[in-house]
Subunit: 219 residues, 2 copies
Amino acid sequence: MVNKKPTMGRQKIKIEKIAKKSHLQVTFSKRRAGLFKKASELSTLCGVDIAMIVFSPAQKAFSFGHPSVDSMMHRFLTGSPPPPPPSSGLHQLIETRRDANVHEQNMQLAQILNQLEAEKKNGEVLDQMRKVNRSQCCWEAPIEELELHELEQLRGALEELKKTVAKQVNNILIQSTSSLPFLAVNGVGEVGNLGTKLEIDNASAALHFNNFAYAQKIC
Amino acid sequence: MVNKKPTMGRQKIKIEKIAKKSHLQVTFSKRRAGLFKKASELSTLCGVDIAMIVFSPAQKAFSFGHPSVDSMMHRFLTGSPPPPPPSSGLHQLIETRRDANVHEQNMQLAQILNQLEAEKKNGEVLDQMRKVNRSQCCWEAPIEELELHELEQLRGALEELKKTVAKQVNNILIQSTSSLPFLAVNGVGEVGNLGTKLEIDNASAALHFNNFAYAQKIC
DNA sequence: GATACTATTTATAAGCG
DNA sequence: TCGCTTATAAATAGTAT
């Protein structure tokens, strides 16, 4: 009887950058799928919202977002008052926050997540940026030298944002937003002239949640 | 001989909303940790960027972000022509992009991811916002009525950003930013009078990166 | 890049302190 | 809420397609 097994089976590996590119590619593919599945399961099991973005080694990006965005935006816009947070001690909370640096970071994250999800919905942020960008151009000549020193400040800040976007144009991104069953729908299409591959996993799911929803309303 | 085993061992479960609340809490805790660990591993193994936010059942949010941005941004900004997309067809890509709605979304995602990671590093974005906010105040009176119609546009766009942040104050967020070993540092603290719990997993990871830094420089 | 096929390594559902 | 243990469910490394 030959003891030759078909494969070595799973081998233990160190968690460190994989050198061999082909190998890395396979691992990325598998683990990304696994990660998304896990996220999807967590979302379903606990009824929570999850947003995630993963940039592939090839400069493409995969994103996963659980449902919630829809319902969240809905409540948000329709203004349906959320149950949990009793608006009572809200102000105190706000005051306290000013001293908590960590909170600021958290806020930023939350804010960004919001935008992120919002964009997915209607591309609001991009519109904002364009608007800013346009305005900017109009100014440079006419005002700059007058006395609007402050304006420079603002402009600088905006430019940063604008540029960040502009600079990333060459990053072809793949976005796949899915919820469970996670691999349900799958559409593939070619876009652009660089052989860019666009993949979209989309399974509109059952969301729950309303975070920023009331935030808007209360403050 | 008693065949009584100490435990049932892991049992198979259906991927569906967990009813028992105490159970759900435990599962959430464990799986979130597992998810973050997986994300961390993927990030390390493949050297890719990952950003993720998870809202807990209690309206708190956990976020995970891996550094990698640096490598991406670095290549991007230092102009080192990224292997795949030869910067040659950049303009074409930009043009093409205008017609690809999906690409816009992707860009937005990328941009936001960037900001997100940037904040984690030094709260630059927050600073930006504050700056903008301040500048804004200085203007309102002096210029507004003159002829800077464009300015209004810009201001409006900025206000949106500012407001988004301000409006989210009541969302206590738990941010855990970790890289491997992922559970290294762990701080817990109580905040506010709502029994809000703030948890922070912080493994000042070895981030590398300065996004807006060179962005500013290059553009 | 994505899949299929196993042998193994991991992640975890339960249960207990 | 956490931490720890155990038995079992899942994920996945190595390969080949």
